[in-house]
Amino acid sequence: MSAFVIRNFFYSIVIIIGVLTVTFCLLYIIPGDPARMMLGQRADVASVESVREELGLNKPIYIQYFKFMTNAFQGDLGRSYATNREVVKTILDKLPATALLSFSALFISSILGILIGIISAVKQYTWLDNFSMVFALIGISFPSFAFGLIMALVFGHLLKWFPISGYVNDGLQYLVLPMLTLALRPMAITARITRSSMMDVMSQDYVRTAKAKGLSSGKVIFKHTLRNALNPVVTTISASLAATLGGVLFIEYIFNWPGIGLLAIDAIFKLDFPMIQGTVLFSAIVFVVINFFVDIVYAMLDPKVKLS
């Protein structure tokens, strides 16, 4: 087990090095001079030169790369062009809002998704199954911003059930619409996976045996089928967590939710490259870290995963 953890740890580090390299390349190939972007077009040559000096932009690329890597591993991703605040600090300030939104959406989507998947699998090929699966496919087909707009229109403007702009400091009702919008896609994916995985397991001999023994259908479904069908579902949910990090982008923007997504969109509109780079990098690293832990939990739960 410890060998498995250590090996996975080092592989995660190798992936993070790759992630850092990709983000470094992104910043390196942007058109224009970062020093000039920081100071604005009217800055004099001397101060631009001194900023270039300070950022190490006049050094050869491999030295810049090395400096970027060492800084990044020490948690320094530079300063925002727009606010001159440290990128990492700004992101960490916004993290709680995004984490609240992501986890609550993931929680709702997992419960509903698994439930819909079970019902579909048990009642397969009935109208209920067809309806759920078409609904799930619609859920996958909606871009988050388009769905968010329709949610805002229907539940915010027409029905006036929930506020469409703001943060939970003013009450939990602010969480409802962004959470449901973010939950749609992972819920749809989870429902589809649960259904197909349940159907695989339901055709197994031991399920038939359980039924033949005269166990109640509830026991057969939850104890014998669902437990064995959950593996791919858990993988999907952990992958969804990473996907919500991309999903929050537009949803936070539409519902004016002060998280990392809104931060990233603002940075994109202002062409604040260090901030864009920081949010991209942060999301990727969170993904690698989550995957690292999920793999370990997975290995502990499932004896079939090879530890060697």
């Binding site: 496919l137 087909s141 982008l249």
Partner: protein
């Protein structure tokens, strides 16, 4: 009698002919009503995109500022100016509130600033309705007074082109890297998989946005940004197929005959990967369309005035906040949803149809 026998014999012969996997897959796909609905919708969308200049009631960029942000089924009255410049095929309209009088050689009308103006009949065209013409805006107009329906129709071109081109780029890269990893294995495989895992770690939409910001705004940039991100799924599938196909006897046989690697890959292994690649590519096409809309929404895709659905949603979004003209955002949202839904229905159908484990 003889002729009849011949026909029967012919049909028996036909039945007997060995059929390809594609034949049976197509048969299975045809039985899947949802998949066929998706295929038909997609075909209609492609026809709409190709014939946009014919079926769109307006030039998508024709602005009549007086008709800014009108509701659906808005009708506008205009005078049609005569075409003085034979070079351009744009028609210019003069929006009027109503005609006041018509005398001899000129027409007097009330314009939108409530001014009475007179125009010579030589300058305008006579239509079936007299000197004015009624313009029908079935889905209303946007804030520049452009026809929403025509912009929706033209927007399908952007969505489908970016979707198809960028997914083709993704499939191309994925096929090459996946084949290399799957065929040579060992260190080559480890290197390719490292790259796959690195790209996979980024939320796709964020990486695409970052790439577009770096590459600049525009259509080509969108192709590249989406294509460079989408190949990982294809590469994984192809690599997996190579791993299982390498063990089969027919691949063993090609080596025994002494074919070189390139020939084994392109002629014998890749054709057998096509099923899963088509299925994954269809799913990728659906995502690519969503990604394009997302880029346009942020103003990073094709640039105005070219109509694109994402851009239309972004413009309409401001109206939803105010609480008016919700159609401006809802219609393009539905257009994207229907397109992606159709692609996903087809993808689901293809997954079932191309699964060789299923019976005919």
């Amino acid at each position: 009698m003889e002729a009849e026998t011949a026909v029967v014999a012919d049909s028996i012969l036909q039945e007997d002919k060995s059929r390809s996997l594609w034949h049976y897959s197509w048969k299975r796909l045809k039985r899947n009503k949802l998949a066929m609905a998706g295929l038909v919708t997609l075909t209609i969308l492609i026809i709409v995109a190709l014939t946009a200049p014919i079926i769109a009631p307006f030039d998508p960029n024709q602005q009549i500022l007086e008709y800014s942000a009108k509701e659906i089924f808005f009708k506008g009255t205009v005078l049609v100016k005569k075409d003085t410049d034979p070079e351009s095929d744009e028609t210019s309209y003069i929006p009027v509130k109503r005609l006041i009088s018509e005398s001899g050689s000129s027409v007097t009308y009330l314009d939108f600033s409530d001014e009475e103006l007179t125009i010579n009949k030589d300058e305008i065209e006579e239509t079936s309705e007299g000197w004015t013409k009624t313009l029908n805006y079935y889905l209303g107009t946007d804030r520049f007074g452009r026809d929403v329906l025509s912009r929706l129709i033209y927007g399908s071109r952007v969505s489908l082109t970016v979707g198809l081109v960028s997914e083709s780029i993704a499939i191309f890269i994925g096929l090459i890297l996946g084949s290399i990893a799957g065929f040579f294995r060992g260190k080559t495989d480890a290197a390719v998989m490292w790259l796959v895992n690195v790209i996979f770690a980024f939320p796709a939409i964020l990486l695409i946005i970052a790439l577009s910001v770096v590459l600049g705004k525009g259509l080509w940039q969108a192709f590249i940004a989406i294509g460079l991100t989408g190949w990982v799924d294809i590469a994984r599938i192809v690599r997996g197929q190579f791993f299982s196909l390498r063990e089969t006897e027919f691949v063993e046989a090609t080596k025994a005959i002494g074919f070189n690697s390139a020939r084994v890959i392109t002629r014998h292994i890749l054709p057998n990967c096509m099923g899963p690649v088509i299925v994954t590519g269809t799913v990728g096409l659906a995502s690519a369309i969503i990604f394009e809309a997302s880029l346009s929404f942020l103003g990073l895709g094709v640039q105005p005035p070219t109509a694109s659905w994402g851009q239309m949603i972004f413009d309409g979004y401001k109206y939803i906040v105010v609480g008016t003209n919700w159609g401006l955002a809802v219609f393009p949202s539905l257009a994207i949803m229907i397109t992606v839904f159709a692609v996903n229905l087809l993808g689901d159908g293809l997954r079932d149809a191309l699964d060789p484990k299923l019976k005919r």
